[in-house]
Structure formats: C-alpha cells, structure tokens
C-alpha cells in the first residue's frame, strides 16, 4: 500500500515536471478516443441497420379474390408446415388497405380514401429463418411445371413475390458500406495507436538518462516501471475523460436534436452512451499504460 502510494506520487511528480510531453500524450489520447468514439457507434449502427433489413425479408403470397375461407385456412396450414418458415401471417383486404394508408402520405392518402372498393388482394406474409433460404422456399410454393411456367401448390395462389432481388441488392450495398467503414476504422485505429506509441516513446526517450540513473542506484526494473505505468494510466484517464466530455457535448448539441427532427437518426440503433464511455476509457487507459510499460523495456536492459 505504501509502495502503491509512492508509485502514484512518483507518477504525478513526473507528469508535473514533464508538462510538455505529458500534454502531448494527453492530446493524442484525446484525438484517438474522439475518433473511436465517433466510429464505434457508426459501425455499430450500420451493423444493426443491416440486421433490420434482413429480418424484413419475407415472401408474400397473393391470393385470388374468389378463394374460399376453407381453402385459405388449408393453405395457411400447408405453408406453416414448410421447412425454414418461421411464421405465416394472413392479411385480409381491409388490413392490406390499412397498411397501405399507413405508408403513404398527402395526396396519395386522399386518393386512397376516394376508392370505391378495395382493389388490394388478400395475401400471406411468410417470414423465414434465413434470407439465404428465400429461393428454396419460393421453389417449394411455386415449383416450376413441365412447361417451365410456375405451378403453385394451391390453385388459389395468384402469385408469389419474393424480395430476393431487392434483398440481395440491399445486402451487397450494406456489406460494401460495412467493409469500407471497418477499413477506415482499422486504418484510423492503427494510425492512432502508432501515434500514441510514438508519443509515449518520445516522452520516455527524453527521460532515458533518468532511467539509467535509477538502474545504477540499484532500482529493480519493476520499481522503475510502475511509476511509468501509473503515469500512462493517469494520461489515459485524463485523455479519455476530455474526449468523453467532448463526445457528450456533441451528442447533446448535435445528435440529439437531429434525432428529434429526422426519423433516420432515431431509427438507427446506436449503442448506449454508458457502454461506449466504458469501452473508450478502458481502451485509452490500457493502451497508454501498456504502451509506457512496454516501451520502457528497451531502456531497462541491465
């Protein structure tokens, strides 16, 4: 305990007496943490947005208007029995109209209410476990007949609409976005780690004589190293603290008002501020403390 206090006091003394390199180290940590603090939620959001799109992929089976109730129930049972099908939802004509009304706005809504009778067909929404099975299930419901024309499993099916084309387009776009984002994040992370490493190395290099003297007086390696590790911890803590403060201000003044006005931002599932803060503070402190401890190795060879 006495030792711990001694090491922390030593670290604080070193920080005070080497103000310029300490400030440089803190600034690099601030910049790095800020970058991470912006990138991590963006990455997280893009990942969750894709999963959103994926869960919406479904098959829609349209029915002829003259299908009887019995036929519809029989078909529903049949569809439910298919492999990979997780749910079958019946949508009647009235419900279909309601859904359409909910989706359109303004003039279109007016024209919908002017309709005399409901032109929308009844349908089944078939949700599936994995978008990759979409094609197979489509084939099950509408196997190709001998002439090459699709022959539905029930005579009341007027058509099957699978969103596979749409889905694969969305998938490839989001995949590309994700790859680009991950690449940028990785590059920034590498650059900032090197920046932090370099700053730490410089500040230790400036004090290598001091380390040499400590060694010659008979200090063990860990006795020399601990103050540097604590120094790194303190620098990381201060840097992360400042960066998180800036991020918080940015969130309150820019992101929050935006998300009130735009549905887009609100719909994005960004991660909570608290776990983000924890990750950033932990990473900053770990990198800076480890960096100090490891860089010192070079000067500690007896």
């Amino acid at each position: 305990m006495r030792r711990l206090l001694f090491f922390i006091r030593e670290a604080l003394r070193a920080l005070r007496r080497n103000a310029a390199p300490s400030v440089a180290a803190i600034v690099t940590i601030v910049v790095t943490t800020l970058l991470l603090g912006v990138l991590v939620p963006v990455l997280h959001a893009s990942a969750s947005k894709t999963s959103d799109v994926r869960s919406q992929i479904e098959l829609r089976t349209y029915l002829y208007d003259d299908a009887s109730k019995g036929e519809i129930t029989a078909l529903q049972k049949k569809l439910k029995g298919l492999p990979h099908v997780t749910g079958v939802q019946y949508i009647g004509k009235a419900k279909a109209l309601r859904i359409l009304r909910g989706r359109v706005k303004g003039d279109l809504q007016k024209s919908i209410s002017q309709l005399k009778d409901n032109p929308l067909p009844r349908s089944f929404n078939i949700s599936i476990d994995d978008p990759n099975n979409l094609g197979a299930i489509h084939q099950e419901i509408e196997p190709p007949g001998p002439s090459g024309k699709p022959q539905p499993i029930s005579s009341i099916i007027s058509g099957v609409n699978d969103s596979s084309q749409e889905a694969s387009k969305i998938r490839s776009v989001t995949d590309a976005i994700k790859i680009v984002l991950v690449l940028i994040a990785a590059l920034l992370l590498i650059a900032s780690l090197m920046l932090v490493g370099n700053t730490i190395r410089l500040s230790i290099y400036a004090r290598r004589r001091e380390v040499e003297v400590m060694r010659l007086v008979g200090a063990t390696n860990w006795f020399i190293r601990w103050p540097f590790v604590f120094e790194g911890l303190i620098v990381g803590l201060l840097g992360a603290g400042i960066a998180i403060g800036i991020l918080w201000v940015g969130k309150v003044t820019i992101v929050d008002p935006l998300s009130n006005n735009f549905n887009l931002v609100a719909n994005l599932q960004t991660m909570g501020f608290a776990p983000l803060v924890a990750i950033l503070a932990g990473a900053a402190m770990a990198v800076s403390a480890l960096g100090s401890g490891v860089t010192l190795r070079r000067f500690l060879r007896v």
Binding site: E210, M214, R215, L216, V217, G218, A219, T220
Partner: protein, 281 residues
C-alpha cells in the same frame, strides 16, 4: 554541529571495524571486498579495455586507480557494478562472482555498492533531498528511516542548507557532494568513485577527497578512479596504475593511515599549494 556528527561517525567506525587490514590479511577472515581474476574486456572493434588484470582490494582500503584516458579505468568501474560484462575472467565482490550472477540480482548488488560518477548522474527533476532519498526508497526504506538518514547524510557532506534545491541550482562541487551523499546514504561496504574531481577546481577537489576520506574512515572501502596523478601522489594511498588495459603499477603508499580528516585536509592543501578556505570546519 558538523563536528559532533563527524566524531560520532568516527567512534562508530572504530568500534566494530577490525584494525585496518594491512598488506597481509590473516587467514580465515572475510574475503577481499574486490577481487579481479584475469579480467579482460574487449570492445567491439577490437579495442582492448582491460587485459588480464588481477588484483584484490581489502576491507577498509582507500585505493586509487590511475592511468591515461582510454586505459580502462572507467571500464573497471562499469564492470564492478555490472553495467557491462567482461570478455573473460571474473569479478568477485565480497567473494561472490558477479559476472555469473543472475541479472535479477544485479539491483541488489548495486545497492550494496555506492557509486559516484564523474557526471554526477543526479535525477534532474528531484530536489537534493529526494535525490538522496531515492537510494533509500529503492531498497524499500521506511519514511521514518528516510527522514532520519537523508538529513544526516546531507550534513555529513555539508549540504544541509541546500536540501530543497534542485541539481541545476547547485555548483559542480555541490552536485558531486549530493552524488556522494546518495552513494553513502545506505552505508554500503564499498564506495566507487569515477573521476569524482574530474570537473572540479583544486580546492573543491580537496573538499571532495576529504569527504571520501572521511567516509573511508567509517570503515567503508573506497576505490577512486582518476587521471589526476598529482592529487593521487599527494594522498599517499594505494595506487593501481593501468596503461592500455594492463596493470602496470600497484603501490601501497606508505604511512599516514591514521591521520584525522582534518590533518588529511591540511596536509593536502599544503602539498597542493591551495590556501585553506575562510570558513574552516
């Protein structure tokens, strides 16, 4: 004040330390403090630092190592605290071979040897007090111990007034005194000094030598490396001369072994033709 401390030191040293072992050491007593056997050091590029040097220095001795620049004097100091490893031969400190000592134990070795460097090697961002205290903190000394020993040692070297100054606020002689205080605060059995007067004027040099002599009289073995032949000749102590890495002379200067610190200083001043300072001890 200074006198009382000094006399206390002297009394303390007289009691436990056996009579200064002279040239011949009685059988069965402790091994010599320093023993070199066939010590050879070759630098990359083939330059020979030390060439099969063998010698031993006994407890309580005050010995000089002299020689021209590049003769291997500083290499010797570096070998004694294992800052470098020799190309061949062995170095025994108090009977232990430090060449084959595991590197984990090197800090422990260095705590038992006080070292004074030509360039002082003080920690620039610590006060005089903290510089000396560091040597005790390294060994895990308690706060009470530090509070007791550091001012005591600084008084011994005559720097009690500059206790809170930083090294860059001190003169060269004062910095060297801090360096000596740091080396001595643990009361090591062996004190090495690498050109302790190398950067200092004659009067300051005498002060430093006087200080080293005083430390020697507490029973500490002192080995001083210097190129100041003049000073060494006047000291009349054991002189080990190296030239091009070879041991060329090992003389045990006769007499004067029991002069007091003050007599020592007075004699040095006369012999070197330096007037005593206004404020005498």
């Amino acid at each position: 004040m200074a006198i009382s401390i000094k006399s206390k030191k002297r009394r303390a040293s007289r009691a436990p330390a056996p009579a200064r072992p002279g040239e011949h050491r009685p059988a069965g007593v402790r091994p010599p403090v320093i023993e070199l056997r066939d010590l050879t050091q070759v630098y990359p590029g083939g330059h020979v630092g030390l060439d099969h040097v063998s010698l031993s220095i006994n407890r309580g001795e005050f010995a000089f190592v002299v020689g021209p620049t590049g003769c291997g004097k500083s290499t010797l100091i570096k070998l004694l605290i294992r800052e470098v490893q020799p190309a061949g031969g062995s170095v025994l400190i108090a009977g232990r071979d430090i060449v084959r000592m595991p590197s984990k134990k090197v800090p422990l070795l260095r705590r038992r040897i006080g070292t004074v460097f030509q360039d002082f090697k003080l920690l620039p961002n610590r006060s005089v007090y903290d510089n000396v205290a560091y040597a005790l903190q390294v060994t895990g000394g308690t706060r009470a111990e530090i509070r007791r020993k550091v001012p005591e040692t600084l008084r011994l070297v005559g720097l009690q007034a500059k206790i809170h100054n930083y090294p860059d606020e001190l003169s060269g002689g004062e910095q060297q005194r801090v360096s000596i205080a740091r080396a001595f605060v643990n009361h090591p059995p062996l004190l090495l000094a690498d050109e302790p007067t190398g950067n200092l004027d004659p009067e300051t040099s005498i002060g430093i030598m006087q200080l080293l002599y005083r430390i020697n009289r507490t029973g500490t073995t002192v080995l001083v490396v210097t190129h100041d032949r003049d000073m060494v000749d006047k000291m009349r102590r054991r002189v080990i001369a190296l030239d091009a890495g070879r041991l060329v002379r090992d003389e045990h200067g006769g007499g004067y072994h029991d002069e007091s610190t003050r007599e020592f200083a007075a004699r040095m001043r006369t012999e070197m033709g330096v007037l005593p300072p206004a404020e005498t001890e």
